[in-house]
Structure formats: C-alpha cells, structure tokens
C-alpha cells in the first residue's frame, strides 16, 4: 500500500463533520455561553477586566494621591507626612511665575511657621531641621525680590512680602521659647532688608532722573577705560550696543524707569563679563602656577 492510498483512506474521515444546522446550533450555544459569562464578569469582576483595568488603576492613583495630599496638607511637622507637604509646597514655589515667586515663598514660609506654632515638642530632630530650613529660606527672600527687573514690580512685591513677614512676626511670638529667639532674629533681619529695599526702590522711582544721570556717568567712565573694554568679545559688544540703543530710545520717550532697568541689565552684562575674564585668567595662570610650585 502506497502513502497516497493511506492518505486517501485517512481523508475518508473528513466525512465526520457537523451538518450546517448543527453548526448553527453549536454556534448559538457558544454565543449564549459568552453572553452569560460576560454578564457575570461585568457584574462581579469588572474591576479585573483588562478593558477597565487601566481606568481603575488611573482612578485609584488619583484618589490615592489626592487623599494623601489632603492628609499631608493637614499634617504637622512632627508627622512623617509633613515631608510630603514640604515637597508639595516646594513644587508650588518652583512652578510659580518669576514675578510671584517671592510672594508665594513668603506665604509658604508663613504656613510653615504656623505649623511649627501648633507643635508641642521641639526636641524632635525633624522639627529642628524644618525650623532651620525656614530660617535659611527667610534669608533668601530679599534676593528673590531683587531678581525682578522692573522697579515698580520690586516695590509692589517687597511691600506684599513685608506684609506677610510682619504677620509672621506675630505668629513667631506664640511659638515655644526654644526657637522663638532665633526665628525672630532672622525675621527682623529679613524685614530690615526688605524695608531698605522698599526705601531704595521708592527713592529710585521718585528720583529717577538723578539716578539715571549718575548711572550713565558710571557707564561712560567704564566704557571709556580701554583696559575694561579690550577683553569684550564681539558678541558682548553687540549686546552692549543694543542695550545702549534701547536706553537711548527709552530716554527719548521719557521712560526714565525703563531706561534705569535697562542700565541694570547692562550692569549685569558687565558683571558676567568680569566673572568670565576672571575665570579665564585663573585657568590660564593655573598651569604655570603648578609648574612654579614644582
């Protein structure tokens, strides 16, 4: 018997099949089974169905994160959740607009001081760390304000921050003695700096023309000195020229404060240039120094 004969015999078994009505009947039974299982799955285990899993995971994460944030927001410095609150507050400061950053930071620091007021024991290391970082952050407030470009903005922000730090002084009077003195001193120091910043800015605004002429005179002296100018590269010279043109047009338009702000930015170019020159000269001199030392 050849292989072909065997295969012909095997193919005879293909007669074993369902009639078309039986096939339809079987298909209906499968459909029935699928429908009943889907109903059961949807009612009892829909949470485990892959179709809904992503949605459930997403919803769970949102609920979990928001409830943790709410809990953290109401926590006090002696709670482990407080570090989450600090993280959230720092993120709020980091994402604040440049012109609002100092005000947001001041409000956050006020909130932290308020939280410290509610804590009974100050022996906890975590609390002392929070108090110390509060002091350090307070010291940075005046610098944050001076980062602003416009004088009117500086004045407005300084006044708002000062209001907040004044309120902080009231709060700090109610915190336990262990930290009261140090925080009060830092607050006093910060307030003084902000106050002098307010006075200085008000003075600049009120006596703008005389400030402007003084600054222009300083600029003239600086740029007439070939020792200073010789190290400027073409890019820096172009930047200085453009800024001087802008100052000129602002003065012609009678915008004294605008011109003063541009002079500030020119002063910054000068500062960056001097730092660059200093850096390059130290790099150039270092190999010879090391040789000398040898």
């Amino acid at each position: 018997m050849t292989e072909k004969d065997i295969l012909q015999k095997i193919n005879k078994l293909k007669q074993i099949s369902l009639s078309s009505s039986q096939k339809e009947e079987v298909f209906l039974l499968i459909q029935k089974k699928v429908i009943s299982s889907e109903k059961r799955r949807f009612h009892l285990f829909s949470i485990f169905n892959r179709k809904y899993q992503l949605g459930f995971v997403f919803a769970f994460l949102i609920i979990f994160t928001s409830s943790t944030l709410v809990l953290a927001n109401n926590s006090l410095p002696d709670s482990p959740l407080y570090s989450l609150k600090i993280f959230y507050q720092n993120a709020k400061i980091a994402f604040a607009k440049k012109e609002n950053k100092a005000e947001v930071k001041a409000l956050v620091l006020k909130e932290r001081l308020n939280d410290l007021k509610k804590v009974n024991s100050f022996n906890n290391e975590r609390i002392l760390k929070i108090a110390n970082s509060l002091k350090e952050d307070l010291k940075t407030l005046p610098n944050e304000i001076t980062q602003l470009n416009k004088q009117k903005e500086i004045l407005k922000v300084s006044q708002n921050v000062k209001k907040t730090t004044e309120k902080m002084k009231e709060i700090s009077n109610n915190i336990p003695l262990a930290l009261k003195k140090e925080i009060n001193n830092t607050l006093e120091e910060t307030n003084q700096k902000i106050y002098s910043l307010i006075l200085e800015t008000e003075d600049k605004i009120n006596n703008c023309p005389s400030y402007l002429s003084k600054n222009l005179e300083d600029l003239r002296v600086y740029f007439e000195n070939s020792e200073y100018v010789k190290n400027y590269n073409p890019k820096e010279i172009l930047e200085v020229k453009n800024t001087l043109n802008e100052i000129d047009s602002l003065m012609k338009a009678g915008d004294c404060l605008g011109a003063l702000e541009k002079i500030e930015s020119l002063n910054q170019i000068k500062l960056i240039h001097s730092l660059r020159v200093l850096n390059e000269s130290s790099v150039d001199s270092s190999p010879s120094e090391s040789l000398d030392q040898k």
């Binding site: 018997m1 292989e3 065997i6 295969l7 015999k9 095997i10 193919n11 005879k12 078994l13 293909k14 007669q15 074993i16 099949s17 369902l18 009639s19 039986q22 096939k23 079987v26 298909f27 039974l29 499968i30 089974k33 699928v34 299982s37 892959r50």
Partner: protein, 164 residues
C-alpha cells in the same frame, strides 16, 4: 477579534475541531460539548487581550487541554458507559454515526489507527486529516519541529505495516 471575525473563524474550524474531539472521545455529544467549550475558551483568551500568533494552532491546543480535563473528570465518575448500558441507560447516538459504522473502509481505518501508538495517531490525524503544518503541530504537542517530522515518518511506516 470582532464578532464577525470570530464567526468566520468558527466556520473555518468547527469541523476540524469537532473531528479532532470526536476521534478522541467516540461520542458525538461529548465532542459537541467539548467543541463549544474550546471555542468559548478561545473567545475568552482573545477578549482578555492575549497575544495569539496562530489562532488555529491555539484553538487546537485549547481543544487538547479541554480533552485532557474531560478525561480527568471522567476518571472521577464511577460508572463507565458499559456499566451504564448494563444498568439499562440508553446512550444517545447521532444518525451520522450509524452511517459511519456501516462504512467498512472508515471502520477499518479507525480500527487501524487505534492499533498504532497514540502519539503516531495524533500526528497523522493533525497533519494529514486536519492539514495542520509541522510548526502548528509542534506548538500543540509542545514538541520540537524536527521531532514532529521524525514522528510523522515513523507514524506513516507504522500505519503502512498495519494496513498490509
């Protein structure tokens, strides 16, 4: 898989799966029930997002597992079909089985297939009757493709010897 795709897939494979199950259970009702179970499990797997590279081979693998479960459960039942017959129970038989029993040639080939090794029978039926590829059979039986080729060769030889 959409409903339409599933229906097409069912129409293309129901005979093959039914035959596969019937030749291993010798019961029309059991083969029908197991075919329903196999397609149902296939639908669930595709609905659950399981990646199915070869749907036909995957369906046969399901059918094979369903069959194993069927025999496992059957082991637990205390009464065999013969015992049921002895006790006077009527065992339903489909018309087409009666026709098949009258076909001497089919009876003969079925009898010969029963006489060779089960694994030989398996590869012969899957390859020559259901036209499954070596790759598909290796997936269903969890054996290497080369192994399946050797088994097929030996199975044909064994069948030839029995049919002589």
């Amino acid at each position: 898989m959409t409903n339409e795709e599933f229906h097409n897939f069912y129409n293309q494979n129901i005979d093959k799966v039914f035959r596969f199950l019937y030749l291993r259970t010798n019961s029309f009702e059991s083969a029908q029930d197991l075919a329903i179970e196999s397609f149902f499990k296939f639908w669930l797997s595709s609905e659950n997002g399981q990646k199915i590279e070869n749907p036909r081979a995957f369906l046969f693998k399901i059918a094979k597992n369903v069959l194993i479960d069927f025999y496992r459960k059957k082991k637990d039942t205390h009464l065999s079909l013969d015992e049921l017959k002895e006790k006077g129970f009527e065992i339903p038989q489909n018309d087409f089985l009666k026709e098949l029993e009258q076909d001497e040639e089919i009876k003969n080939i079925l009898k010969t297939l029963q006489e060779i090794k089960p694994i030989y029978r398996e590869v012969i039926l899957l390859h020559y009757l259901e036209n499954l590829s070596i790759k598909e059979i290796s997936f269903i039986l969890k054996k290497k493709e080369n192994n399946i080729r050797v088994l097929l060769h030996r199975a044909l030889e064994a069948l030839k010897n029995k049919l002589l």
